[in-house]
């Protein structure tokens, strides 16, 4: 299968706001359950171990017409909660048995309660995570939260979620994370063969199809991409930061590349890359997931940084590792976590003479011209001064 064919399939999945693939998966067996989740991170292994499919909900994108959702939010609140409500209110999520709302910001947090009121028959859980990274403090708290999640899902599905099943699911997701890491490495290595459009769509596909299918899709794509021989352009290498929750329209990502930037890392859909290493597959699986979360996970504005010296260091190390020449801070309008953190990150970049620009977007932004111009000027200035 060619990369074009694979990406075509991803695009269909991306555009399908009725989630047909997940519906079909569920319909194949009446005992199956689907659990929706929002950004940034949930331990999908636990759902998987219970025979459930986890479905990443990343808002409605730029194609979904939001009618009901707007009645729930003031103009100064970001777009993702309103388009998510739209998905719910229009029956697009009527096959979803439960929803997880990770602890990332007050908007998603409050949305969890709204969901409880709107869909009283759903299993709705606010998924809290520790901001204290010590094993016996935050770790113990988190393990107990994972256990509560496990029990809630057992009740919902009627299936016992055994340690053994979680260990097996960890294996499957370890592979998924490994493949995604490879994909990111491959893009950084040969961005001419692996455009960000493709990387993004492949990541998105992972939100809505079974992980096993995603794994084989990733493998096939990479095999095909490696064989390509596209000419390398004189683009500059940049990293996108701040887009971890509400997603930009695909056109925005394409526009950045068209403007002369190769995106060599990003924070879209961090759930695919949140845990950075292999999670051990022996021993207590909840302890292993907790350890990975506490000690080997990605950074984002949804996290508290214990020491000032560490603020922005993750981004800085990514810049170095990916040999990036600049950073584009692209955050959704009204996104408190991203926008509050941004000045600290830009300070860190300034300290290390890393060129950067900032802008805001909304998932339904239509006008790409200003962004293309801004990114284009940025790319030119990097080329000129490097």
């Amino acid at each position: 299968m060619s990369t074009v064919e694979i990406i075509k399939r991803c695009e269909e999945l991306y555009e399908d706001t009725y989630f047909t693939a997940a519906r079909e998966w569920k319909a194949a067996d009446p005992s199956r359950r689907v659990i929706g989740y929002m950004p940034v991170y949930v331990p999908r292994e636990i759902m998987h171990a219970g025979g459930m499919m986890s479905l990443g909900i990343l808002g409605g994108g730029d194609k979904l017409e939001v009618i009901h959702g707007d009645a729930y939010y003031q103009s100064y609140i970001c777009r993702i909660p309103r388009s998510t409500i739209e998905l719910g209110k229009t029956g697009r999520l009527d096959f979803v048995d439960g929803m997880l709302f990770p602890s990332i910001c007050d908007v998603i947090r409050n949305l969890s309660g709204m969901w409880k009121l709107m869909f009283p028959d759903n299993y709705v859980r606010y998924f809290d995570v520790p901001q204290n990274y010590k094993d016996d403090i935050g770790g113990n708290y988190y393990i107990a939260e994972l256990q509560e999640l496990r029990e809630g899902l057992e009740k919902l599905s009627g299936n016992k979620i055994t340690d053994e099943a979680i260990r097996n699911s960890i294996k499957v997701y370890n592979l998924n994370r490994k493949l995604i890491r490879e994909l990111y490495d491959l893009r950084a290595e040969m961005p001419q063969n692996v455009p960000s459009n493709d990387v993004y769509l492949l990541n998105r596909a992972g939100m809505v199809i079974p992980v096993e299918d995603h794994n084989s899709m990733l493998r096939k794509y990479m095999d095909a991409a490696k064989a390509l021989d596209n000419p390398i352009r004189d683009n500059c290498r940049i990293i996108i930061n701040g887009s971890f929750c509400e997603q930009p329209p695909l056109n925005l990502i394409r526009s950045i590349e068209l403007a002369g930037c190769y995106i060599v890392d990003d924070d879209y859909m961090l759930v695919n890359r949140w845990l950075l290493g292999e999670v051990p597959t022996s021993g207590d699986p909840l302890v292993n997931l907790a350890n990975a979360f506490l000690h080997e996970s990605a950074d984002s504005a949804a996290k508290y940084c214990d020491h000032h010296e560490d603020v922005g260091m993750y981004l800085l190390s990514t810049v170095k590792e990916r040999q990036a020449e600049g950073v584009i801070f692209a955050a959704p309008s009204f996104c408190d976590p991203a926008l509050l953190e941004r000045p600290m990150l830009t300070d860190r970049m300034r300290e290390h003479d890393i060129p950067h620009i900032s802008f805001k977007y909304a998932e339904n932004s239509g006008q790409m011209q200003p962004i293309r111009e801004q990114a284009g000027t940025f790319a030119d200035s990097i080329k000129l001064w490097s």
Partner: protein, 444 residues
């Protein structure tokens, strides 16, 4: 007895409204607030250490047990807003690269630093010795203190208070908070203050807290009377000053709330309405429940739009962000750390949305309110995200009409007096029409 409406220092702040006369409680409160600022700006002489912390879920009893002074950045932001200083400070922060989209408390605070960190008494504020980030009910706090830490480079300790996602406090949440208190917060307070933790001191403080809380609840619930002797939003913000800030757990707070209660008891006995900046309200026309924080830059103008129409707030949720006492919680000296955990976990914005709606419904019913009014704050997702749904739910459950106004906390650019006034006027008309409709219906 006479009254001056002076300087509230509430859940998130304080104000200055001039009136010709003063109640004893008002005088006491003013003195207390001033004394705290004087102590804060005199650390060079009094040798005291300063702990900066937030209002919701603050650990005042614990902080005081170590002899530290308590400085609350939200309160400073409000003080500055009342003095028409915050607008400039916010713009200074925006020029430094802070987004126009984020909470204006943060920017007012950062702008205040850039302008020399002058306290409301005109003297420079000392740098904090400890940033105690006890973040309850709002994620912004977390990034706010990361930003302050960058500036002050002082010791910082975080107390994470889990959110009541399912509307209840679980043992896991409580254990987590207690463990952090024992292993993170208390050791940091010991290090900074140089004093060992003394549980008996903490217990004493907590005992005094509970006493003051009893009287405060009595005062807030006096609004069930008709007419209500207090305004439970604009007026109550003044009453909450001591207990939400540096005085919970002190004898001063106990005395203040005793005196306040006596004053209100007297008002109830006399059948008097609340005191407003326009004098005593003699005709109560509309009884409202209020959701959301107030606007501080135009506090007085905002309040006037209510009392001029005979509208009074009989219950509000904002007055519960620094502790929900009217639903039974009291600081418990017999279980000090667990009780501090429950206090933090129970603050209003740490309750899930269904619980917040239940609370509003109860207020509308128990206080026999004519409706629910929401002041939606641009800055504050913690409050604002979901308020439109809350309004719909309350209308559905109680039949009382809801209305929505939009302002900001401390950013004057988002207060449009004409707009707010229009909305309020139509709302009061709507209540009137509803009443007439009800009268006609019951006459039939």
């Amino acid at each position: 007895m006479s009254t001056k409406i002076e300087t509230p220092t509430d859940s998130h702040g304080s104000s200055e409204i001039q009136e010709p006369q003063k109640d004893s409680s008002m005088l006491m409160q003013k003195e207390m607030i001033n004394s705290n600022y004087d102590a804060l700006t005199n650390t060079a002489n009094n040798g005291k250490k300063v702990c900066s912390t937030f209002v919701p879920g603050n650990l005042n009893e614990l902080i005081q047990s170590f002899g530290l002074l308590n400085n609350l950045p939200e309160t400073n932001a409000i003080q500055n807003a009342m003095r028409q200083q915050s607008g400039g400070m916010i713009q200074t922060a925006e020029r430094q690269g802070h987004s126009e989209d984020v909470c204006t408390y943060v920017k007012a605070d950062i702008g205040m630093m850039s302008k020399g960190n002058i306290a409301p008494n005109g003297k420079p504020m000392p740098n904090p010795d400890l940033l105690l980030l006890s973040y309850t009910g709002c994620f912004t706090f977390m990034k706010w203190f990361e930003l302050l830490r960058q500036e002050y480079k002082c010791e910082t300790v975080m107390l994470q208070v889990p959110y009541q996602g399912d509307g209840e406090i679980t043992q896991n949440m409580r254990d987590f908070v207690v463990k952090q208190l024992k292993e993170e917060v208390i050791p940091a307070l010991e290090r900074v203050s140089g004093n060992a933790f003394d549980i008996d001191k903490l217990r004493e403080n907590m005992r005094r807290s509970a006493q003051a809380e009893d009287d405060l609840v009595w005062v807030l619930e006096s609004a069930k009377n008709k007419p209500t002797p207090i305004d439970a939003y604009f007026g109550a913000i003044y009453y909450l000053g001591p207990i939400f800030t540096a005085f919970r757990g002190t004898q001063q707070a106990v005395d203040y709330y005793r005196v306040l209660r006596q004053e209100i008891e007297q008002r109830v006995k006399n059948g008097q309405g609340p005191i407003t900046p326009g004098g005593e309200m003699t005709k109560e026309r509309y009884r409202l429940v209020m959701e959301g924080p107030p606007n501080w830059t135009n506090f007085r103008e905002f309040w006037k739009m209510f009392y001029e129409e005979g509208a009074v707030v009989v219950a509000s949720t904002y007055t519960k962000v620094g502790g929900v006492y009217d639903q039974g919680f009291r600081h418990d000296a017999d279980n000090p750390l667990e009780s501090l955990a429950d206090y933090c976990l129970g603050c209003y914005t740490n309750r899930n949305l269904p619980k917040r709606v239940d609370m509003l419904e109860k207020y509308v019913k128990d206080y026999e309110a004519d409706g629910l009014l929401i002041n939606s704050i641009k800055s504050c997702n913690s409050f604002s995200a979901g308020q439109l749904m809350m309004m719909q739910e309350i209308e559905k459950r109680t039949g009382a009409p809801g209305a929505f106004v939009e302002t900001d906390l401390v950013d004057p650019r988002y207060f449009s007096a004409a707009n707010v006034k229009n909305r309020l006027e139509s709302y009061f008309q709507m209540i009137e029409q509803r009443r007439q409709g009800n009268m006609i219906a019951s006459a039939r």
